[in-house]
């Protein structure tokens, strides 16, 4: 059962970005050969999601690099949305990605394809990225385009099958400013067209004939959405070999959501083997124009949503992580390898999404909020 349609599709773009993440960073050199095995786990708001992610990247000839990623989400959901109008469920989402990078002088081309599949949602995404070093190699300009073809289904209803068409256009720029400072800029426009809401979710409206004082009807979203996001980031190499970094992202879309993200972090080596890091992320968004926790009547307007992801809320995240590096051992084909443990603690506070399971008069229930724990444990090896 899909939780929200578009994030499943966005995951495919994110996966493609992971495969090509080295391209804008190092336009004139292909990424190193490496393999990563990751276990991820998310626990929060009655939802547990865990599974593996495997990545292998290998150079082919002098100017090509291929990579593949296999990713699984095993989901067990008893979230407030599910408990309100449905029954807890388990499901699995698998995702596979392939990418080819090609280097030609100071230009790198990346082509990737990702497929995400679950019971009731299939997403296919093709991406093309190109990056070029300019101005004495102090500047890296990157351009990218993704196209997605999705299919939304509904369990228990074999007749239900709706398409979604997605496009993403992005440009990025990184600039070495001084021997210790690098600045970055990114802009991305994403357009969606098709069935964009969750086929299972409902909105609630006042209903005096119902003993609870309210009733539910299926949500209705617009069939198009266009978003623009712009991000600025900075990295500062400190004199004692450590890195401080910060980022701001501004976001707006045609559904009326405006969002701001601020992130700061610090990375610090300890001796020859250890690297520790910590960070904080703040996120704040306004609600979609057609969102309401409680509509005044049935069919109160043409578009209706009560997804808490479209409500007004603020989230905070504290992160800590540690990496231990093994050196190359004689006779081994591995150049180096690392063991990594990362933990993130998240807090979500909703301003206009109420916890209707707590009771109270309709529209006067306590506001909803929850904490989440995110674990990432992985091994990386370079060969």
């Amino acid at each position: 059962m899909i939780r929200l349609a578009i994030p499943a599709a966005l995951a495919a773009i994110t996966a493609a970005a992971a495969l090509t993440a080295g391209s804008p960073a190092q336009a004139a050199v292909l990424p190193d050969d490496r393999a990563d095995v990751l276990y991820h786990r998310y626990e929060g708001g009655g939802v547990t999601v865990d599974g593996p992610s495997l990545l292998v990247r290998k150079k082919v000839a002098e100017n090509y690099s291929v990579s593949a990623n296999y990713y699984v989400d095993m989901i067990s959901s008893a979230s407030i949305d599910v408990l309100t109008t449905a029954s807890p469920y388990d499901e699995e989402r698998t995702q596979g990605s392939l990418a080819l990078d090609a280097l030609n002088g100071k230009t790198q081309y990346s082509l990737s394809f990702a497929n995400s599949d679950e019971d009731d949602y299939t997403a296919n995404t093709a991406s093309f990225d190109v990056s070029q070093e300019l101005f004495g190699d102090l500047t890296t300009l990157s351009l990218g385009f993704s196209r997605g073809w999705d299919e939304v289904r509904r369990n228990g209803d074999p007749e239900f099958e709706e398409p979604v068409d997605r496009r993403s256009y992005r440009v990025g720029l990184s600039q070495i400013v001084t021997p210790t400072v690098m600045l970055g800029f990114a802009f991305e426009t994403i357009t969606d067209e098709g069935f964009l809401n969750n086929p299972y979710r409902s909105v609630r409206y006042l209903d005096t004939e119902n003993p609870a004082g309210f009733a539910f009807q299926p949500e209705v979203y617009p069939t198009t959405r266009t978003s623009n996001a712009v991000a600025f980031n900075a990295q500062y190499f400190l004199p004692y070999r450590a890195v401080a970094h910060g980022e701001y992202r501004g976001y707006t879309d045609t559904w009326g959501i405006d969002a701001h993200t601020v992130r700061v972090g610090y990375t610090h080596p300890l001796g020859e083997r250890w690297v520790v890091e910590g960070g904080y992320r703040w996120y704040d968004q306004s609600s979609a124009d057609f969102y309401a926790d409680l509509f005044p009547r049935r069919d109160a307007q043409n578009f209706l949503a009560r997804d808490k992801e479209l409500s007004t809320f603020t989230s905070h995240m504290l992160s800590v992580g540690a990496t231990y590096e093994f050196g190359a051992s004689r006779g081994s084909f591995l150049k180096r390898s690392t063991v990594n443990v990362f933990y993130d603690r998240m807090r979500f506070d909703y301003d206009d999404f109420r916890d209707i399971l707590s009771g109270g008069a309709p529209g006067a229930e306590p506001l909803y909020g929850f904490d989440a724990n995110v674990y990432r444990v992985f091994v990386s090896a370079w060969f």
Binding site: P7, L38, S315
Partner: protein, 74 residues
């Protein structure tokens, strides 16, 4: 159309001699950017997963740091 315009701008920049600008940070001064701790994304799989966590629970999307990072250390 957007992509075509951006490629045109990049091509014009290259054709008008931008590559001849004297780099004010010399290649031998860029060793900090080659340090692994300065890499724009040291752990792509872990970062990709965290971005997925955000996208599944937030309304905003796009312009992730992994698209805008950079090194230029060669």
């Amino acid at each position: 159309m957007f992509l075509r315009r951006m490629i045109l701008i990049a091509s014009l920049a290259a054709a008008t001699g931008c590559g001849n600008i004297e780099p004010w940070v010399k290649p031998y001064e860029r060793q900090n950017f080659a340090d692994p701790i300065m890499a724009a994304d040291r752990n792509p799989v872990a970062t990709s997963y965290l971005n997925h966590v955000f996208e599944a629970r937030e309304g905003a999307r796009g312009a992730l740091a992994s698209h805008g990072g950079g090194c230029g250390c060669n």
